[in-house]
Symmetry: D2
Subunit: 375 residues, 4 copies
Amino acid sequence: MAGNSFGQVFRITTFGESHGEAIGVIIDGCPPNIVIDLDFIQAELDKRKPGQSKITTQRKESDTVKILSGVFEGKTTGTPLAMLIPNEDQRSKDYMHIQDKYRPSHADYTYQTKYGIRDYRGGGRSSARETAARVAAGAIAKSYLQQLGIAIFAHVSAVGDIQAPNLGDLSIPELITIREQNIVRCADPATANQMIAFIDAVRKDGDTVGGIISTVIRGVPVGLGEPVFDKLHADLGKAMLSINAVHGFEYGSGFEGASMRGSAHNDLFINPDHKAQSLKTRTNFSGGIQGGISNGMDINFRVAFKPVATLMKAQMTINTSGDETEITGKGRHDPCVVPRAVAIVEAMAALVIVDHYLRNLTIGDSESNLLKTLS
Amino acid sequence: MAGNSFGQVFRITTFGESHGEAIGVIIDGCPPNIVIDLDFIQAELDKRKPGQSKITTQRKESDTVKILSGVFEGKTTGTPLAMLIPNEDQRSKDYMHIQDKYRPSHADYTYQTKYGIRDYRGGGRSSARETAARVAAGAIAKSYLQQLGIAIFAHVSAVGDIQAPNLGDLSIPELITIREQNIVRCADPATANQMIAFIDAVRKDGDTVGGIISTVIRGVPVGLGEPVFDKLHADLGKAMLSINAVHGFEYGSGFEGASMRGSAHNDLFINPDHKAQSLKTRTNFSGGIQGGISNGMDINFRVAFKPVATLMKAQMTINTSGDETEITGKGRHDPCVVPRAVAIVEAMAALVIVDHYLRNLTIGDSESNLLKTLS
Amino acid sequence: MAGNSFGQVFRITTFGESHGEAIGVIIDGCPPNIVIDLDFIQAELDKRKPGQSKITTQRKESDTVKILSGVFEGKTTGTPLAMLIPNEDQRSKDYMHIQDKYRPSHADYTYQTKYGIRDYRGGGRSSARETAARVAAGAIAKSYLQQLGIAIFAHVSAVGDIQAPNLGDLSIPELITIREQNIVRCADPATANQMIAFIDAVRKDGDTVGGIISTVIRGVPVGLGEPVFDKLHADLGKAMLSINAVHGFEYGSGFEGASMRGSAHNDLFINPDHKAQSLKTRTNFSGGIQGGISNGMDINFRVAFKPVATLMKAQMTINTSGDETEITGKGRHDPCVVPRAVAIVEAMAALVIVDHYLRNLTIGDSESNLLKTLS
Amino acid sequence: MAGNSFGQVFRITTFGESHGEAIGVIIDGCPPNIVIDLDFIQAELDKRKPGQSKITTQRKESDTVKILSGVFEGKTTGTPLAMLIPNEDQRSKDYMHIQDKYRPSHADYTYQTKYGIRDYRGGGRSSARETAARVAAGAIAKSYLQQLGIAIFAHVSAVGDIQAPNLGDLSIPELITIREQNIVRCADPATANQMIAFIDAVRKDGDTVGGIISTVIRGVPVGLGEPVFDKLHADLGKAMLSINAVHGFEYGSGFEGASMRGSAHNDLFINPDHKAQSLKTRTNFSGGIQGGISNGMDINFRVAFKPVATLMKAQMTINTSGDETEITGKGRHDPCVVPRAVAIVEAMAALVIVDHYLRNLTIGDSESNLLKTLS
């Protein structure tokens, strides 16, 4: 009800404030016997952690994760898997100046009005620091997806007006390798260089800029997603829109599809493998999802992030007494969130896919499900 | 789990197939003592019903709704409110030709593979006919919102490449009046005429086209929406993406915001009323939502619909045996869904807002909540 | 939230008032490809329906069920299965005399105070008539359990101070045959005769009496039930306590177990089949459930029903203005509910077992789960 | 789904194994602005903690709780409140002897078969140590109930065949004082002495014994509880049955009510205060709940606990290979759990009442609800 849980079967609940003792997450419904690789979880967190390059915030958090329960002798047990990430470099005094001011385009005013109280230090619960807990949980989800042959890849496809070209026919491991060779996490090296230079210039202005992350998911079997309200793309959309600063989500043909004709947009079925149970489509304007259910083609979607609200320049605002005042960002902030948000987008996508994979098992031992298992 | 319910407190569950006996909906958690106006519910359904103009499908359904429970002497009782809409003009024989064919960009293949069985008549459960049940439930939600002083307005802002200009400063009742004066449901009469001519031409081609619906919600108090996963815009996004044919959702600055700088994008607070509890912002790139919580400004968002998949021309496809075959739409279909989808978008928006209004009451009798009640 | 749904995966939502248009139920999450036998569903409803013998209410309802959705060509499709039972013999005028009186030990006062409105006719939503919808849904659940080799048997084991002896080693089909040969639904014919005579005498007094229903469930595989809060017996307990008039639930050794010593109470494991995956226990004080999870032994529990509150004699009470008044039962009422409640207890048990069976599938394709499938 | 969460609005999720790093709990949906008293939380935990007297296990755990989030400057903020209790005195080697043996009437066999893996140390997740997390969460719930004027009292009313007499007319603070003066936590001092002597004798035998806990809740307003499935007593029943070793639950007249006549059982309404909104009943066989909804009278119920399964004597059992073997309890165990379980019963009761209090707020600003607030 209060909105700190996500997922139906593979269900995570996160907790913690930016400048409290720790943040963390419980996964309830994690299948047993998944091999847990702490190094992999940590590597995922490192992609999101602050202070990793000149174009991210300089806050220094090692984001070291500790597993408190649910794992025995290196494997999950099916019981709740709790993970804890202590807060280290808090510098709460950086936030004393906002104790009684509402930062523009932040959640200070809405939290204060909703709850009548707020932890103003670093945004408290509204801080994107909460997403580290999602990345930790997403790493467990990815470990399970890997067993199932499902892979996820996200990268920065736009910063400001700079847009990456479409990706070619590379495999996901190849794409990841290219992406991790630049600090902006774009899979096109030439575009990456432009983006980095642009973000650096914006940062020197004391300003910030938005961007877009594009994602592809490969190897999803036919049949994931529930008709009507819990369509696979509806749950992916909600997952992405729940990430701080996200203002838009589209899948397949997206907003461009709205201007197309049906005769150009329809994805014609083909049967290259001559198996009635695993068709392909000639095009993929459906983005791998038809009627809310995966059709076995690549799932793809794009997520739009607004520019970071904290600026290193003076802005007018209102204080908690209702009077006008001036505010200037202190502390350490990102000029552009998308390089670090790539890990968050992948984590949320992994959580949605695992959850729908497990939900789909509840259809039971139908003939069709058995066929899928045996094939 | 199986995805036919929506909402946490004001929770609807829909049922029914396109060519079954009836479709319907149960609302659980409807507050007591709401006055029920059957004429209003019917009028909402009439905006969505087929056969209403030359640019919609010619299937004739009166979509007459019947309330089975939860209302006593004209008022809701707090018990489950069940509504039934019988199917009348079914012509199931129009669908015999697709019994063993997978229609391109429809849900036939994914349903068959997921469940091992499907009601192929008219798309069965995957038919947009299901959304009539949502509109009926949305009408109850709107009745409650009206008591609270909250109003919702959606209209067709784009069809193909034809886009409506921004709306001026009209009130929502004025906007509704203008919109209902044309069959495409665009609030700009000149644009509406272009859209109608274009859709009619597309229809004569045997083709279809997509479009965009834009929405504004006024009068929402500060504080609706839950932080983290159930952000108000995340739930609005999921609601919209759960509507048949929707491929994209954006709110506030949306995808355009991704290319903006923070200094241009930030919504500076102002206090025209000199009340610390009800600030305004100079601009509204936040779309009325900050940190996932309503800030009292207009909530606005845009929804992209792909073109209808059923064409009145021949297309190649695959049958259930895996062989190539040809298919041509029979029956009665929409060349463009957005005119009828306006009612669905408004209904889903109403359901989200009512649900979050009631969820927010669970914060309890905090000083801040009492203040809101008394103000 | 509002409490009209039950189950997590196989989830039912009921609606309807005693004297409204109809009552009904939606099952969401029903697996596809279950063969539906309408005669079986009707036969289950007939065991609960009013007017079936001299010791039940004389209200005449055929309780004829109609399936509105979710079934195609005789099989479930995996989409919501809606069932409707019209109300026929309503005689609402029998209830005009209680319009402004609170019946003792009924829900009139609590509903009125909670909601500020109530449908006073026949108890409205608080009427046990609602349980007909549960029996209809339970019949679908039983059809699925039969496929899985799981059988449920309940019977009246006590009425007033008359108690049935323990059942011998009969099979469930044999037990059902014996039970259905008497109108009180006790599987011991001699005790049944005493019970019937006693209830009839109580009825002639214008009085009512309580009773106990005992249940056994056979064929449940090891592993159903979730640790901690959703223990199998906790969900069975809630299911039973949600039935009108139930005041107590115990399983296995129950309240008697509280006075026993561990050395007498422990169920020692044995391995008659020499298979490490399917142990038995020498005794069954655990009632087939250990640590909240089924252990493969018979599950058994007992449910206590208080006497019916409506008496055919005058009682003092208070009216809605707060003044003293007299009330006498009119209409047609049961002197003892347990004979009709047997069908309700079995239905709720079936719903719990099916739900936990499907929930258990979400553990995933663990080695242990595959072993279970193959064994 | 996996069953480690409880509650709908005030929702707790617990984690942790008996011999892991720590156990803990997240409360999501905790109202803001509740004053948090760490000493009170710790005092509640101390009533449940091991090693507190000669009739409890000698395991030494300080059960020191740490709040990680959701509290700012001594008050709750409305964000998730996470609490951690590190495990200290683990002595896991005490459990090496059961690594490959299934302890009788424990959860070893069912966990192993369900998950294909288990943390065998101290019962892992099936250990009653998990309930410490519930007590911590219950202490927060109690803090909120105190603000609302609601008080809960539980005590040991039976051990073996020794039963306490009915309590007189003492206030809840007086009852607590008396109860805490003896180590068995019975509110009748003479009975307490008998119980203590009996448990001590059983302990010296290497045996264990069961018992009963009786509870009363005072000050609950009329209107809590949801009709149909989430009746207040059904949720209390599930809460109690989810506690380790509980085999039975009854409220009001309970199992005795099954043998009563309606004319003796009905609770006649009276109106001593001459206020139509707050009636009383002459008797209270309804246990404070009618139609699943609180009626303003004392809520009372009884919970039966089976004897502890771990004995300090040899028992025959089966090992994980399916062979017969002998087992003898090592480590430190309770001869009778009820003295420590009093705190758990009160905690679970508090969680249910707070949850239903907050759920009831979602009825909205109905006239009746406003009346209740103003009265």
